[in-house]
Subunit: 319 residues, 4 copies
C-alpha cells in the first residue's frame, strides 16, 4: 500500500517537518511514501513522485514547503477530480495526508465522496481559523516572527511622541492580532470579530497621555480592514505622528519553531496511523486541551472557528 502527502492553499511554517516525518514514518511502517508537488494542480497534473529519504534530508529547518502548494480552479470540475483520482489509483495510493485549511479540506471531502480515496487533513494555517482545533500548524512560528518585529518597534517607540500601527495577518480571524497584542502589551488591538470601542478607548488614552504616556502601539488584523481609518483617528485625536508597518508575508516565513516542529511530527504520525488503521478516513486531526483527536471533515468545514473567550476578554481588558 502507498500513502501520499500534499500541501494546499497558503503555506505555513512546519509543513517541511511534517513532510520529513511523513516520509520517514511511512517507510518505517512498511508502506511506500509519495510526494505530490504543487498542491491540487499537481495532483491533477500527476506531479507525484515516490519519495526517497534524501528528498527530505535537511529540510526540517526551512520555512515554506519543498513540495510547494497551490490553489486550483480546475479542481471544482468533476473531470479534473476524476483525473486526480486516476493518478492516485495508478500508483496504488490509498491514503492522503493533506496539509491545508478549510478550502483544502472541502476539496478533499468532495474528492473522497466521489472516489475510493481516504485522507486525513492536518490543519495548517497561520490564521488559526479552523473549527474544531485549538491549534493549527504554523501559528507559533508566525507569532514569534510578529513578536520579534514588535520588540524592534518597542526599541524605537519610546524615543518619540509617536504611534505605531502594525497590521498582522488574519483574513477572518483575529488570533494572531490578539495574541500579539497580549504578549507585546499593545494599547490597541483591532480584530474582525469584535466591534472596536472607539469612544471608550479614546477616553482612556487621552487620560494616559495626560499622565505621561508618550507612545501608542496598535495591532490591527488585516481582516478588520481598518488600518487607514485608525491611522487618521490617532493622528487627529491624539496628535501623534503615526507610522505604519504591514508585516505581510514575513509572517509565513522563517525556520519553524520547536513547537511547530513537534506539532508537525505529532500531527503527521497520528494522520498516518489513522490512515493505516481505518478504511473510511475523511477526517481532520485536531488538537485540544493537550490531546490529539479526529473530527469528521463535515463538522470541521461546516462550522466557524471562534476565538476563545479568555482571549477576547484579554483584549477587552486592553480597552
Amino acid at each position: 500500500m502507498a500513502l501520499a502527502i500534499m500541501c494546499s492553499g497558503g503555506d505555513a511554517p512546519g509543513m517541511n517537518p511534517a513532510i520529513k516525518k511523513f516520509v520517514d514514518y511511512t517507510y518505517k511502517k512498511g508502506q511506500d511514501a509519495y510526494l505530490i508537488y504543487d498542491g491540487l494542480d499537481g495532483l491533477i497534473d500527476n506531479k507525484i513522485k515516490k519519495a526517497a529519504h534524501k528528498d527530505v534530508s535537511g529540510i526540517v529547518h526551512f520555512g515554506g514547503t519543498i513540495i510547494r502548494s497551490s490553489r486550483s480552479k480546475r479542481f471544482y470540475e468533476y473531470e479534473y477530480r476524476k483525473q486526480a483520482y486516476e493518478n492516485l489509483k495508478a500508483l496504488n495510493i490509498k491514503g492522503l495526508v493533506v496539509l491545508g485549511g478549510d478550502g483544502t479540506f472541502r476539496a478533499m471531502q468532495k474528492l473522497s465522496s466521489e472516489f475510493d480515496i481516504n485522507f486525513v487533513g492536518i490543519p495548517s494555517t497561520i490564521d488559526n481559523d479552523i473549527y474544531g482545533t485549538e491549534y493549527c500548524l504554523g501559528v507559533d512560528t508566525s507569532l514569534n516572527v510578529i513578536r520579534d518585529a514588535l520588540d524592534k518597534i518597542r526599541d524605537t517607540a519610546s524615543s518619540f511622541n509617536r504611534a505605531f500601527l502594525v497590521e498582522v495577518m488574519g483574513r477572518e480571524c483575529g488570533y494572531l492580532a490578539i495574541v500579539s497584542a497580549i504578549v507585546s502589551g499593545a494599547e490597541i488591538c483591532i480584530i474582525p470579530e469584535i466591534e472596536f470601542q472607539k469612544d471608550a478607548l479614546e477616553r482612556r488614552l487621552i487620560q494616559e497621555i495626560k499622565e505621561g504616556r508618550n507612545y501608542i502601539l496598535a495591532i490591527i488584523s488585516e481582516g478588520a480592514k481598518k488600518t487607514p481609518e485608525i491611522h487618521s483617528w490617532i493622528e487627529e485625536k491624539f496628535g501623534m505622528e503615526t507610522r505604519v508597518s504591514i508585516l505581510g508575508h514575513i509572517q509565513r516565513g522563517g525556520s519553524p519553531s520547536v513547537y511547530d516542529r513537534m506539532m508537525a511530527f505529532d500531527f503527521t504520525i497520528r494522520a498516518i496511523d489513522y490512515l493505516l488503521e481505518h478504511n473510511d478516513s475523511n477526517k481532520v486531526v485536531v488538537y485540544n486541551s493537550g490531546k490529539f483527536d479526529f473530527m469528521e471533515i463535515e463538522e470541521v468545514v461546516s462550522k466557524r472557528y471562534e476565538l476563545p473567550k479568555h482571549l477576547i476578554d484579554a483584549i477587552n481588558y486592553l480597552d
Copy 2:
C-alpha cells in the same frame, strides 16, 4: 492586603513577563504589589520595594529577571527565616508568588510551615525537571535558542566528513537534550536518565556511513557528563574529526518566546487568584494536558520528574 513576587535559583526566560503581569494584575485586583530583589538573600536583607507600574514598563521582552535572583545559604538557618518573615509582616505582605525550582520550593515550604505566610510557586527552570507539571517556565525559549544553534551547525555540517557534539543544559534531566535531538534529527542523544546503547548505535552508524552518511550530530545533556567520552569514541570508531560546542548560559537568555510570555501571564494570574481566595496556600501551579491546576508543595518536592515515555521512545527510535 499586599502580595510580593520573588525569583530564586537559576533564572529562566519568562520571569520578566511574569513580574510585569504580577504588578499589573495585583493592582487591578485592588491589592498592593511588592518586588523582592535578589531572591532569598534579598528577602532576608529586606530588599523589598513597593512596585510602581513604571518599574515593570517595557520589560516583557528582556531575558533574565529585573529583580535578580540568588541562592542563599543563610536561609537554612531559622534566625534568617525569621528575619525574612518579619520583613514581610512589617509590610503587611500576606502572600508570595515565587518563581523557581525544587530547591526554592523547599525553602518556601520551610518558611510557610514556621510562619503565617502563604505562597504559590510557579515552576520556572529551563531544565523542565519539576514533578507534577508538564511544563516549566522558560523551556520553550531555551529550546528555540538551542534550535537556532543547531540550525547553524547544520549549515556547515554536511560540507565535511565531520561530527558535531553539542552539550546542552540539564543537570539531572534530559528534557532539553531529547526534544532538541528530535527537532533537529540528531543521530545521537545522550541523557542522564537512560543508558547509552553504544554497541547498537555503533553498528547502525557504521552501516549508514557505508551508505553515504558524511556527518554525525550528537546532543549530550550536561548531566550525563559524557562529552569527552563520546568525543573520543566517535573519533576512534568512525574516524571523523569531531567538534564540540558547549552552549552554556546562552540557553538561559534571549527575548522570551510568545509561548513563554503567555505561560508567564497565565501562571501568574492563577497564582494571584489562588492567594487572594485561599488562606492556606502552600501550592505550586502546575500545567498538564492544557490545563492549570494546583499541587501541594509536599508532593512536588518529594517526587522526581520523569520524562514522558513518548519522548524516551523517540530517542530509542534514534538508536
Copy 3:
C-alpha cells in the same frame, strides 16, 4: 571642562553604543560627561544630566536611544536657542557630540554661529543620505533587519505563482532599497533617484516567466511613492497575485550589529578628540575609503548625497 552628547531627529541603531563610549571616553580623558535628554527640546528645557558610568551600563545591545530624541520647532526661534546656550554655559559645557542627520546639523550650525559653543556631528541615520560620508551610523543594522525579512519572504516565495513587494525606508535616498535588492537578488528595485524603466523590465520579466520564473520580488524605496502603482502593474501585466509588506519602523530597531557598534565607538572617539583639541569645531566626522576625517558643517548641509555609481549600475544590471 565638560562635554555633552545629544540625539536629534530619527533614531538609529548604534546610538546607544555611541552614548556608552561617549561617557567612558570623556571621563577617561579627564573631562566631565553630560547627557542631554529628549534632543533639541530637552536642550531648551534643560534636561541635561551629569552622566554616571552606571547610566550607560549594559546599554550597548539595545536599539533606539536611552536619552531619546526629538524634532523641535522652537529651536527655529532665537530666544529658544539662546536658552539652550545658557543651559550649556551654566554647566560649563564647551562642546557637544551630536548624533543626527542633515536637519540636526543645520540646527547646530545655527547655534554655534550665534554662540560660543563647539560641536562635532556624527552622521546617524538609516537612510544613509548625508553628503560627504560613505557611511551613516545605523545603516548596517537596518540592512540586516531588511535582509532577515527578505530571507523569510524567500522561504515562501517560490511555493506559489506570486509577486512580493517590499517597501523599505528612505525618504529621499534609495540606499537601503538598492543594497537590499542586490543582496537578496530582487528582480525589481525602485528608488527615488532614478527613473523606473517599466517597458524594458516588462519585456525581460515576460521572457523569464515564459522560461519558468514563478515569482517576482520587488524592493521599493518609500521615497519613490510607487508601491500602489507597481502593485497594480504587476498584477495586470504578469497576472501574479501580489503581496505587499511595508516594513516600517522595524528597520530602526534591533540590537546594533557588530559593524555599527565598532563604527559608533570610532565615530565617538574621534568626535571627542576633535572637541578637546580644537576650539573652533563646527564639523561632522565622515568616513570614506576606510578612513575617518572631518568636514565643515557648511559643506555637509549644502550638498546632496549621491548614490555611488557602482550601486546604480548594479540596479541597472537588474533591469
Copy 4:
C-alpha cells in the same frame, strides 16, 4: 574559455553568495562557469560540473557552501596534482576562483607553478588571519553570531554573582575574540598574540568587585588554550561561580550578513575580471582601506597576519 570555482579548507559564511555571483557573472561575461565539488579532493576526483543558473538559485541566504569543501592529503603528491590539472584541461578551464585560507592558497601556488593554470584566491576564513588583507570573507557574520550569544549571556549575567567564560574561534589569531570583547564590553579578553596580564587584571577586578561589580565576562580565543586555567583562576581569586560556553561551529553558520554578501559579490567580480584580463594569475584579492587590490600569492603565504595596533590597544584598555 571556461572558469571554475572551488572552496577549500574550513567553510565560511559568504561562500554561497560568492558561488552565486561567480556563475551569474561568468556567464554574463560570455564564458562558461564550472563548479568544483568537495574541494581539492573533488578536483582530483573530477567532481567538476558545468553550472546552470538554477544550481545557484536561492542559495544566497544559506550558510556553509553548496559545493562543499575538504582538506586533501593527496594533493601533496605530484601525481594527484597532475590528475587535477588534467581534469581542468579536459574541460578547457583556464582559470580558477578559489575560496579558502593560507593552506589552500599554498596548494594552488604549487599547482599553478607546475601547470598552465591561473587562479585568483579570495581570502575566506572566519579567523581573519590572512596576511595582506584587512578582511576575510565570513568574519562579519561570525562576529554577529558571537554578539548574539554574548547579548543572551548579558541577559542573565547581572542576576547573579557569577563569571562567564566564552571561548570563540581563532586558532592562531585573536581577531574574533578581540572585536567581540570590544563590542560586548568584556572585562577579560585572552588571545594567542599577547601575554595575559594576570596580576594587573586581578588588582583591577578586585577593586571593581569592592565597588559593586557582580559579574565578569571573559572572552577567550580557542588558540590561547587557556579556558580551564582562567576558569580556575576566576573561581579562586574572585570567588565567583563560573560558567563556560564554547561556541564552536555555530560561529561558522547562519545566513550571511549583508556585509559578507556584498563583500562576496565584490571579491568575486574582481577575481573573475582579473582572470579574464591576465594570463599570469597567481594572486589573492585583498581589501584594505576600503579598496580592493591584488597581491602575489608568494607574499600572502610567506608572511603572518598581525592584529591592527588599535585593536590590541583597545584590549590593553580593558586590562
